[in-house]
């Protein structure tokens, strides 16, 4: 059924990567010095790749739209990073991490990629510790671990609730070291607007200097996009305000297939929306589910305060429905269960679109342990709560502070109110085993590609994938391509392909500035987000998706005739930046709905209401949909479907159960 080739090496699953590494063609040091690689994005995937390629001797140019590479949105990841170290001696292994990830992804990821990810996971922890990343430790001086959803081992490494920050600062410092040595040229406050193709190969980019508005041409023997996910298509998400799909979308329009765009992750534990002014949503880390119990009142429309609802009138619905995994079921399952309870009328808080995440039981349990450690036998409840609160504070203090700051409530005293929110996108540019897109010489890493998480990503796996791609995978696989490019001299940027790409980019900017309509960019973005959340969000159906496609097309026409972008193109103009990004989100939104409509099954984060089991769980159709949907962009805004069949040779495909 496949009409595209994923270039997975032959051989046993467990030896594919080792064999590949030892047989991949190399580029000798003197040639590396003349080969230029462009990296767009400076998050975990981009910064780690830029630093590593520069260490290897390549000439690297790295671009980010923020004022510093340290600000990429990887920085906001809270909970942790998985690695199959088995330091806890709880039965973990490369195979188990591989298995959990494939199962967590609802059997919609590629076996070979996921196994490779599990293999290199342990190296990531070693590398980060060597860089001075201060991961959490136990009193013996060794690294600590905690649990995350969808697994029964403790394989998650962390740095309080700031794991992403610490890992990114590690990659950033490695990148800055190379910048200081003159081996990476860093372009901050630059946004990629076009990919330049020459004879079918990616040979550079067009970027806009966001301060001056100047349009620049940059040549590279290869181009790598580590530009993150597209969750902001929903307007409200846990992504940063600037996170966008533009680089990936421009690549898509130049021939890179976009795979599984409908696979989006709605994270179960976010702070609920408080009003129409809301500009973004804030995640409360999944790690909180280690110690928090999720519940709603047993009675419908119960308006009592949480503290006034007695224990036997609370419904711990995750523990009830999924006794084996309880509060640590994967994200898609937890999110749908929260939506189910709220839709049925059991939601809490003013909006009724929230459930409780309650730490009381575990606070008391920790308090009892602490009391016993200090020789207090039969401690009273107050002592337990006091001692336990100190433990909770050490584990999650920054998250509790953030919650208090945003909501004005004290989570040490009352349970948190949480609700699902858009968090991560499993879909992205289609890449082969080498992380190369369908455009030769154009690579894609991290969240921006589609490859490792199937239809649902497990917690603490995004950081793992970003760093795996950048530190340990791409630096090998890109060599296979570049070894054939050693005779190509740097192409001057007055080449017609650069001129033409620049004209395309300028044409769009001028068009946006000159519409001079009546509605702001945010106005359109909010409307797009509303359509996507209502009709292509946590639950989808055929009727809604068809309506959404029509509504998005109408919105696109209205956007291009009535958006107002103040200011000029030749200056710092954030409204113009947003306008370009929203224009691309509108086109992507349509493709997401088309993909969701095409996939007549439910899997992971993609839940089609027509396809569910009697118990309301996702119902896959492996016979007809065990494929990657890779969409090709066609003239106008049209899309053609290509299929990559997913073969499961090492794992028995089963209905996913966490009961």
């Amino acid at each position: 059924m496949s009409d595209i080739n994923s270039n997975i090496p032959e051989g046993e699953l467990t030896s594919k990567w080792t064999k590949y590494k030892s047989s991949v063609p190399l580029v000798n040091p003197s040639n590396k010095r003349t080969i230029e690689v462009i990296i767009v994005g400076s998050g975990l995937a981009g910064a780690s790749a830029a630093a590593t390629l520069a260490e290897m001797g390549y000439k690297v140019k790295c671009f980010c739209f923020q004022d510093s590479p340290r600000r990429a949105h990887s920085i906001a990841a809270q909970g942790g990073i998985n690695a199959a170290k088995n330091y806890q001696n709880d039965g973990d292994s490369t195979y188990r991490l591989f298995y959990d990830t494939i199962k967590g992804g609802d059997y919609r990821a590629r076996e070979a990629n996921v196994h490779r990810l599990a293999e290199v996971s342990a190296n990531i922890i070693d590398q980060c510790v060597a860089q001075g990343v201060p991961l959490a430790r136990e009193y013996g001086g060794l690294l600590d671990n905690r649990s995350f959803g969808g697994t029964q081992v403790q394989r998650t490494f962390y740095a309080a609730g700031q794991t992403g920050q610490q890992l990114l600062l590690g990659a950033y410092s490695a990148l800055e070291r190379q910048i200081g040595m003159g081996k990476v040229e860093m372009y901050t406050r630059h946004e990629m607007l076009e990919v330049v193709k020459i004879d079918g190969k990616a040979r550079g980019i067009i970027a806009r200097n966001l301060i001056t508005g100047e349009i620049e041409r940059h040549f590279g023997h290869a181009v790598v996009l580590g530009t993150g996910g597209y969750g902001n298509v929903f307007y409200l998400s846990t992504n940063a305000m600037g996170s966008n799909v533009t680089a990936a979308w421009k690549a898509h329009k130049q021939g890179a297939y976009f795979a599984n765009p409908c696979y989006t992750q709605i994270h179960p534990t976010c702070i609920p929306v408080s009003g129409d002014h809301q500009s973004k949503l804030t995640l409360m880390s999944e790690s909180l589910r280690n110690d928090g119990r999720i519940w709603v009142p047993k009675k419908k429309d119960d308006n009592r305060k949480a503290s006034e609802i007695p224990e036997d009138e609370r419904d711990y619905y995750l523990e009830r429905r999924y006794p084996a995994f309880g509060n640590l079921v994967p994200r898609d399952v937890a999110s749908r269960a929260a939506k189910e309870r709220c839709d049925a009328g059991y939601g809490v808080g003013a909006s009724k679109l929230a459930v409780y995440l309650d730490f009381k039981a575990n606070t008391e349990r920790y308090g009892r342990i602490e009391a016993s450690k200090s020789g207090i036998h039969n401690p009273d409840k107050e002592t337990c709560m006091r001692l336990g609160t100190a433990v909770i504070k050490e584990k999650y203090g920054n998250l509790f502070d953030m919650y208090a700051q945003i909501t004005g409530e004290n989570p040490y005293e009352t349970p948190m109110r949480i609700y699902p929110a858009v968090h991560y996108t499993m879909g992205g540019l289609w890449v082969d085993y080498n992380l190369m897109t369908s455009v030769p010489g154009l690579y894609c890493t991290g969240e921006a590609n589609f490859s490792d998480h199937g239809a649902n990503r497990l917690g603490a796996s995004a950081l793992m994938q970003g760093l795996a791609d950048g530190y340990f995978v791409l630096p090998y696989t890109i060599g296979a391509y570049l070894s054939k490019e050693i005779s190509v001299k740097a192409i001057p940027t007055d080449h017609p392909a650069f001129v033409e790409a620049e004209e395309r980019a300028k044409g769009i900017l001028n068009k946006l500035i000159n519409i001079k309509g009546t509605k702001s960019v945010d106005h359109f973005h909010k409307r797009l987000g509303h359509i996507m959340w209502e009709k292509c969000g946590m639950a989808r159906n055929e009727k809604g998706l068809k309506e959404a496609i029509e509504e998005i097309r109408a919105l696109r026409a209205e956007f291009w005739s009535n958006v107002r972008v103040p200011g000029l193109a030749e200056e710092l103009n954030p409204e113009l930046e947003k306008a370009g990004r929203v224009a691309d989100f509108i086109e992507l939104g349509e493709l997401m709905c088309i993909d969701a409509l095409n996939r007549n099954e439910s899997c992971g984060g993609h839940f089609r209401e027509e396809y569910q089991t009697e118990e309301g769980e996702a119902l896959r159709d492996d016979e007809n949909f065990a494929y990657v949907a890779a969409w090709e962009f066609k003239e106008g805004v049209n899309f053609e479907l290509h299929k990559e069949e997913l073969k499961f040779e090492n794992i028995k495909v089963a209905q996913r159960s966490y009961k």
């Binding site: 340290r70 510790v129 001075g132 940063a240 953030m402 710092l572």
Partner: protein
């Protein structure tokens, strides 16, 4: 859902670019909800300005959850506003009163030139890190992570220093525009860990030299930086940096 009922007067620094002079401009806002973040209040202002055909206020912001370090407003004379231990994006309007006048300016320091309105150029921080804020270990050189036990106290202290988000509030609040809290946080993080020892004295010299070259001022121990730091980075880091700097000059064999 919250409804907004606050009325505010804003005095906002407007400056077209780094070649022109700026000035405070008054704006009246009504219908502000106490549940809005400070930046969401600016979103409302900008939406108003765009509707009226005026240019919106340019300000830096990205994650809006207090960790990226991009937001940087000097509010009523304090970086990140009146609350301790929060960034501007995590400051909510419930910290203000109906009828308040709020003055909003950019970070002010010679090493942080204004780019436009409330946006400044903080690339000097990146150059200080590039001068030595790292451990020189190439990808693939690492041993097993647990081969190097690190006492929890040390690891925790290193983490506390590493919590710096590089926002620049310390520089903005310092009367000397000193960057010593920022620079010392990175130096401490790496000096506290065994991995950081081989380059310890080289690092402190290189980073301090770059800090001086960027035009940051000196430290006169007023402690404003610590008081205003949204992440609570401690002054003790500066003490450690000064000790290491002195040791490097007088004891270390390696001078940079």
């Amino acid at each position: 859902m919250s409804t907004g009922n606050m009325n505010l007067t804003l005095k906002v620094w407007r400056q077209k670019n780094n070649k022109t002079k700026g000035a405070l401009v008054d704006y009246k806002l009504s219908g502000i909800s106490p549940d809005m973040s400070f930046l969401e209040m600016f979103d409302v202002l900008n939406e108003d300005l765009i509707t009226k055909g005026e240019e919106p206020v340019v300000f830096d912001h990205d994650c809006r959850e207090g960790i990226c370090g991009m937001c940087s407003m000097f509010i009523n004379g304090r970086p990140h506003g009146p609350k301790d231990l929060v960034t501007t994006c995590q400051l909510h309007m419930r910290s203000f009163k109906d009828g308040d006048t709020i003055v909003v300016e950019p970070w002010r320091a010679a090493a942080f030139p204004v780019v436009k309105d409330l946006t400044v150029d903080r690339s000097a921080f990146d150059r200080v890190i590039a001068a030595g804020g790292f451990i020189s270990v190439n990808t693939g050189n690492a041993q097993d992570a647990n081969n190097l036990p690190i006492p929890k106290m040390k690891a925790d202290a290193a983490f506390e220093a590493a919590a710096c988000i590089g926002c620049g509030a310390c520089v903005a609040t310092c009367k000397n525009a000193s960057a010593m809290l920022f620079v010392s946080a990175k130096i401490s993080q790496l000096a506290l860990l065994p991995q950081g020892q081989p380059e310890r004295y080289r690092r402190v010299q290189s980073m301090v030299a770059q800090m001086d070259a960027e035009g940051f001022g000196n430290c006169t121990n007023t402690g404003a930086c610590e008081a205003e730091c949204p992440k609570g980075i401690s002054l003790e880091n500066i003490a450690l940096m000064n000790r290491d700097f002195a040791s490097a000059k007088f004891v270390s064999e390696e001078t940079v």
